[in-house]
Symmetry: C2
Subunit: 495 residues, 2 copies
């Protein structure tokens, strides 16, 4: 119903922007290695500490110091490119190479829409709304964390209902939170059941992923490490994204913040590679700056953009796939929201990012999910997919159009000629939300601003949404598992 | 009063995005040359035709065919880099090299602001408002055409009052329209008088510039050619920007539209170089696409971005400085306006553009100038200037911040430490319009959306604006000239 290109796993053909000379890469690497060797990382998880001690790292209490040779050896096992295959194998994605993939906003506690006009805590209904939007848009390639927190679901069993919703309402690559043993094990089991896989099949290749954040500066917490190790053992996708806000949890200088983020992230990747050599890992950047007057985080700033590009250079140096984000500080889907998000998304493209988290729906530094912002972002992402299309710079004779130019010469126009007739239907990206009419035409239709149009559009999309098919036995197995685990009490511990 | 970096002529350090392989460049060049040699360009100006005939081009009526050897010889005279020095020499700009320069929106017939809430024709008061905004913002490097058409000024003398306003309210590089002999000659004389220059001093180096558009497909009109040749003879800055809307006045394929635009633009540059070898020229791209359903022009689309980048490749091939734009189709300063403008501006950066016309204030495909959009765009441009700052990826020990990281270790934060104290005031770009507060803080201040904040900001900027000084004798000479020319009837012919 809306104009969108078919599902594909896009290729970003642009050469990345490399701000630094090679010496800059070396200097940041050297700093990250000194942090790992001399300061060390605090692993607040006894099992992780024991594993790293066994691996030969120097351990003092919770502080683990790892030598650069060990880190290099572990990184040599990490694949530069890997796939994730969800329950619908047509939705398989490749992480690495020149691919770039977009995912929905993840983890906001709150919801905002234009009719509501205020912030409210997320609910399961709202959560399901975003799952439907994420499934509908072909520019959304994977389902990240909860697109809004369904706080009306009891914490002990929330993951069961939420992951079931995710597996039934979408057929794209799913994520599970690394928030303690039960949630991670339940998540893996549910993904396995939804795809109808034997345990060995599930373990054989990635079917899902998690994303952990270090607790900057220089710490990894218990539940995230626990989930990280469980997912590593079973060969599932692993992304570590230090949240290094320069001037707050990281140095006020962007290259210092990037160096710290690398030390934090590489230490987790080394752990995963020691546990399962070849574990599919990606490095996530979440380095930005704060407003030095208020301490408020900022996103899509010039500092954010360069930190993302610098991280891209470092990821290429380490041979690791990279994750970045589509982020903004704005509270409502207005002009600021779109210039900040555009800056973030172009930084993702320019940095050679492979995975772009939070690419649709994010407001207020990630504290609000908004359906209007979601469809506005999808309009921008749809344009990016077309931007990646090499037919735009193909120079076959029909593209060069000499004959068409010779036909029209100095008078007339190209509207009616055969060259145009043959191509006009697919020549240009078609908008779904953008209004390209002149002022009078736009005014005659009510003079509706983008955010209001987005409100109308997202509701049309929800009407048009169709649930993806799933075999009856897989659906039944999921329900049975959820009810069994609910009866057992779910995940009694919360983090 | 607002946060802005000091005046500078910025350097764009990023390597341009080159979508095409070398064969693509050759194929487009070959097509442009075939257009010039075989189809020819219509020059609707007998003097231009006579000059080109004398130069050895094949002339049939108004159609001029020029051989590739002639074009190459003429292009060999065109400087890759040149300066323009306005009446305040501190505002000198360099066009070419790695510089990137931004100018105000130019030539909209209409005005829109949030209080007015509707479109109205431009007036001198509104025109002067934009001149003050353009002077105030350091991210605006030159004053393009009329930022809004002052239609309450009589057409015969409008250029006299408008150029005087421009020369008194700003001290940045001025532009004059190539709209007939009187307007061009008056414009040059007024720029000379404002700077207190002798005629030979004016002729010795560029003090101003004009921008002409071809009448696509493949035509140049009488007044623009007339102004072009007059300015060429006196060594002033020359930009030719074919308005090649793919699917309308140019082929529906983007590389075909670029090839046509090159043929049109290079023919004018060849003319200028024959008249005055070494004349300071730049090639302007204005290639975009139309909505194939309505024929409405679109801007900031993926097709627009790639056409801009492709044109950048071609300009580097020809050794010519390049102009592009900050453009959008949106009618009001909302989300669509900012994603379209962001796309245009990032394409300017990625293409290695040297001159970015319409970089602030443009709406409705250039038919509306808006002060809210102006300050929103300046917020984005201010971020771009910071984005260009190499200190962001410098890797001196203080930037790498190992000692700071060692000091904070696993606990605490970076807010209070000396490393942060020494740097925090200049570490990050500071916003003037962006609101980075959380939702509650933003709501407590009224929950004001960006366009409304921009309305408040532009009025504060106008209050803070100060007229740049000009010597009394220069001011008197300008006034005397304007009154003399007014008494003579100004420019009786209109185009």
């Amino acid at each position: 119903m809306i104009n969108q290109a078919p599902w594909c796993v896009p290729v970003n053909p642009d050469r990345p922007v490399d701000p630094m000379p090679d010496e800059g890469v070396t200097a940041i690497h050297e700093t990250a290695m000194r942090i790992l060797e001399e300061i060390g990382i605090a692993f607040y998880n006894p099992e992780a500490v024991a594993v790293l001690k066994q691996a030969g790292c120097r351990v003092e209490g919770e502080t683990v110091r790892m030598g650069r040779d060990f880190v290099a050896e572990m990184l040599s096992h990490a694949p530069a490119r890997w796939t994730i295959t969800p329950r619908n194998p047509d939705r398989r994605i490749t992480i690495g190479g020149n691919h770039i993939l977009f995912g929905n906003v993840s983890s906001p506690p709150n919801y905002w829409d234009l009719e509501l006009g205020r912030k409210q805590p997320g609910t399961r209904d709202l959560f399901r709304k975003f799952l439907r939007l994420s499934q509908y848009y072909n520019c959304i390639h994977f389902i990240g964390g909860y697109p809004v927190e369904p706080v009306d679901l009891h914490p002990a069993t929330r993951h069961l209902d939420a992951i079931r919703d995710k597996l039934l309402l979408t057929d794209k690559v799913p994520h599970a939170y690394a928030l303690g043993a039960e949630r991670v094990e339940d998540g893996m089991e549910m993904v396995r059941l939804a795809a109808g896989l034997a345990q060995e099949e599930f373990d054989a290749s990635p079917r899902m992923f998690t994303n952990i954040n270090s607790t900057s500066p220089l710490k990894h917490d218990y539940p995230m490490l626990d989930g990280w190790m469980r997912m590593a053992r079973r060969g599932q996708g692993l992304i570590v994204s230090p949240f290094t806000l320069a001037g707050a949890m990281a140095p006020v200088t962007m290259v210092g913040a990037v160096a710290q983020s690398l030390a934090e992230g590489l230490s987790a990747i080394a752990l995963a590679q020691y546990i399962r050599p070849g574990a599919p890992c990606a490095f996530g950047t979440f380095t930005s700056n704060v407003d030095m007057k208020s301490g408020a985080p900022a996103f899509g700033t010039p500092e954010y953009m360069r930190a993302t590009q610098i991280t891209g250079q470092m990821c290429r140096f380490y041979g690791l796939p990279m994750r970045s984000s589509g982020a903004c500080a704005a509270n409502v889907p207005d002009g600021q929201a779109m210039w900040e998000t555009s800056n973030s998304l172009w930084a993702a493209v320019q940095s050679g990012s492979h995975v772009v988290y939070h690419a649709a729906g994010w407001l207020e530094g990630g504290l609000i999910a908004s359906p209007e912002k979601f469809v506005m972002d999808c309009e921008v992402l749809g344009q990016m997919l077309r931007y990646f299309d090499p037919s735009l710079w193909r120079t076959d004779p029909g593209d060069l159009a000499y004959d068409a130019i010779a036909e029209v010469r100095h008078e007339g126009h190209f509207f009616g000629i055969q060259h145009t007739q043959d191509r006009y239907q697919s020549a240009f990206w078609q908008p779904s939300l953008s209004d390209w009419r002149n002022f009078e035409g736009w005014q005659a239709q009510g003079g509706v601003w983008t955010a209001e149009r987005a409100n109308l559009l997202y509701r049309r999309v929800l009407e048009d949404y169709r649930e993806p098919p799933i075999p009856d036995d897989a659906r039944a197995a999921l329900t049975e598992f959820v009810e069994k685990r609910r009866a057992e009490g779910g995940a009694p511990r919360d983090f």
